[in-house]
């Protein structure tokens, strides 16, 4: 991989909409994906992730709106393979073609360096299987081959639809580090997933999609800061502490007899209780798991 510095590319979705008959697959999606970080494109099954990415890549025609790379549609790019690398679910391979020959079909058509297929097979750990027919490949091997195809043109932008599918834990860790590395080189990396924990350690930015609509565009750290910290408190004086916390500007609520949750760091709760002589029997930091958060946020949108 060569270093990039200057070729930053920003992806912009603007009012992107797709209807399949009665199905609103994607509705008025507007968002920006910046270079230099990994952006996670999250949403439950059927949220419209794949449809959005296929529109971005010119494979599906939007009903309305646009998706562009630095202002240009995919089919307007002068050299798409060198500018954008893509891995999509349901991308196939001819079963009787070998792995390296699959990559060569792309390399020949895109006038790439004839050594590129061998190089990317090395990168994804498939060098030994280069001359094997893809028909005999496992799911994980196919996924790696798809990734190799995305990397073939050494592109500054990567668009990957559920790249971790079929990878073993080893492969997932490798992928995570690999994607972070690509982003650190200044590339734009957009990765879809329906499992938040999968991208938790990789992503910087998050696009949250549900029922075809963008729920949030934010950074993962912001999302964590917003929701992760809270306190779960057991005290015989729940009502009293609740009033004190609320007065101090921390949202809180009594959730059961002698039990209270507050949107405040435990240290604040403990100090406040001590200052007012309130006995606290148990005080734990409640971290809302990103998984729960994901479920909550995506459940809120009505279809």
């Amino acid at each position: 991989m060569t270093a990039r510095g200057d070729v930053a590319t920003t992806i912009v979705f603007d009012g992107l909409t797709k209807q399949f008959g009665q199905t609103h697959a994607v509705h008025e999606l507007s968002a920006t994906v910046r270079p230099g970080v990994v952006t996670a494109f999250l949403g439950p099954n059927g949220a419209g992730k794949t449809t959005t990415l296929r529109m971005l890549l010119g494979l599906v025609t939007p009903s309305r709106g646009t998706a562009t790379f630095d202002g240009r549609r995919y089919d307007e790019l002068s050299h798409p393979v060198r500018q954008v690398g893509a891995l999509l679910e349901a991308t196939g391979f001819h079963p009787s073609r070998t792995a390296v020959n699959h990559l060569r079909t792309i390399a020949v058509a895109a006038r790439l360096d004839p050594r590129a297929p061998g190089r990317v097979l090395e990168t994804v750990g498939l060098a030994d299987a280069a001359d094997r027919k893809v028909g005999g490949f496992s799911l994980g091997m196919r996924q790696r081959l798809g990734l190799a195809a995305a990397l073939l043109g050494d592109p500054p932008v990567l668009v990957l639809d559920e790249p971790a599918n079929g990878l073993d834990p080893h492969g997932i860790r490798w992928l995570r580090e690999f994607l972070c590395g690509l982003a650190q080189e200044g590339r734009t990396v957009l990765v879809s997933s329906h499992v938040l924990p999968e991208v938790e350690q990789t992503a910087d930015d998050v696009l949250l999609l549900a029922h075809g609509q963008l729920v949030r565009q934010t950074s993962l750290s912001e999302l964590r800061a917003e929701h992760a910290h809270g306190a779960d408190i057991r005290t015989p004086h729940a009502q009293e502490l609740d009033l004190l916390l609320t007065a101090a500007g921390y949202p809180s609520s009594v959730v059961g007899p002698g039990r209270l949750v507050a949107d405040a760091p435990p240290s604040v709760v403990g100090d406040l209780a001590a200052a007012h002589g309130i006995a606290v029997h148990r005080l734990v930091e409640s971290t809302v798991g990103l998984e729960d958060l994901f479920l909550t946020l995506t459940a809120d949108v009505s279809p």
């Binding site: 296929r54 494979l59 599906v60 089919d75 349901a90 991308t91 196939g92 001819h94 073609r97 792309i106």
Partner: protein, 252 residues
């Protein structure tokens, strides 16, 4: 564009089915070919050919591989959808019309190769068989015309295959449909509506190969190159309709 054509030829070379199709073509040439026989239409009953036409007849019969080249064309198009390679193909070349154009060019070249290989086997084999039966070989203009027509017919059928593959999305439907057309509907058409059958793809093919001269079929289009033109017309028609729909479809 040359890069795209090279890529399409490379795709043909790197799948096993292409080799099998070549084997099938040669089998057709050797097994069914150099003996004058009825082609497709049940109405065309073979009769002993007149002296000078003997070699032409043999060569024409040997070029039955065009159906196989057509299947190669259908596969070149429909396997992309069946195996999902269409996604990578269109990612490399988002302007889909160029992909279809490259496939048409590649099948022209592949059709030429298949035709030349067929002729290299068919012509000497015909000569040997005719000699063995005590016939006289006469090289005349008709033989030359049939040779040229046989090569062009094979190339056109490759294009026809691409056109059908673009029009009919489903691979099985495309192959089964076109074989049904060639072997069943064309036969029925020739029997029921000979005037229309002259202009059908198979009728035009027969005319191009001058099959009428040995089947005694007077209904064939003349001259022989009119048959080629009509066949080309069919190809263009199906290609235009098929390509237009293939270009606009969402690939999900």
């Amino acid at each position: 564009m040359t890069a795209l054509i090279r890529a399409e030829l490379f795709k043909l070379r790197t799948v096993q089915v292409t080799a099998w199709l070549l084997v099938a073509t040669l089998t057709v040439v050797v097994a069914g070919g150099p003996r004058p026989r009825a082609r497709r239409s049940s109405r065309h009953r073979a009769r002993p050919a007149a002296g000078s036409a003997l070699l032409a007849v043999a060569v024409a019969s040997a070029s039955a591989g065009e159906i196989i080249v057509m299947i190669m064309g259908i596969l070149a198009m429909s396997q992309e959808l069946r195996f999902g390679t269409a996604t990578s193909t269109f990612l490399v070349t988002p302007r889909r019309g160029r992909v279809v154009g490259a496939k048409l060019a590649a099948l022209t070249i592949a059709g030429l190769v298949f035709a030349l290989v067929s002729m290299v086997v068919a012509v000497p084999l015909s000569v040997v068989l005719i000699r063995a039966e005590g016939g006289t070989i006469i090289w005349d203009g008709q033989v030359a015309d049939v040779l040229v027509a046989a090569v062009l017919v094979m190339m056109l059928y490759g294009l026809l295959g691409i056109a059908i593959g673009a029009l009919v999305r489903n691979q099985i439907a495309a192959i089964a449909g076109s074989l049904t057309w060639v072997f069943i509907i064309e036969g029925a058409l020739a029997g029921l509506l000979p005037d229309a059958a002259r202009w059908s793809p198979a009728g035009a093919t027969g005319a191009a190969l001058q099959i009428g001269t040995w089947t005694g079929n007077q209904d064939m289009l003349t001259p022989w190159w009119l048959g080629l033109l009509v066949l080309a017309g069919w190809t263009v028609l199906i290609a235009v309709v098929g390509t237009r729909s293939a270009l606009q479809r969402d690939l999900t």
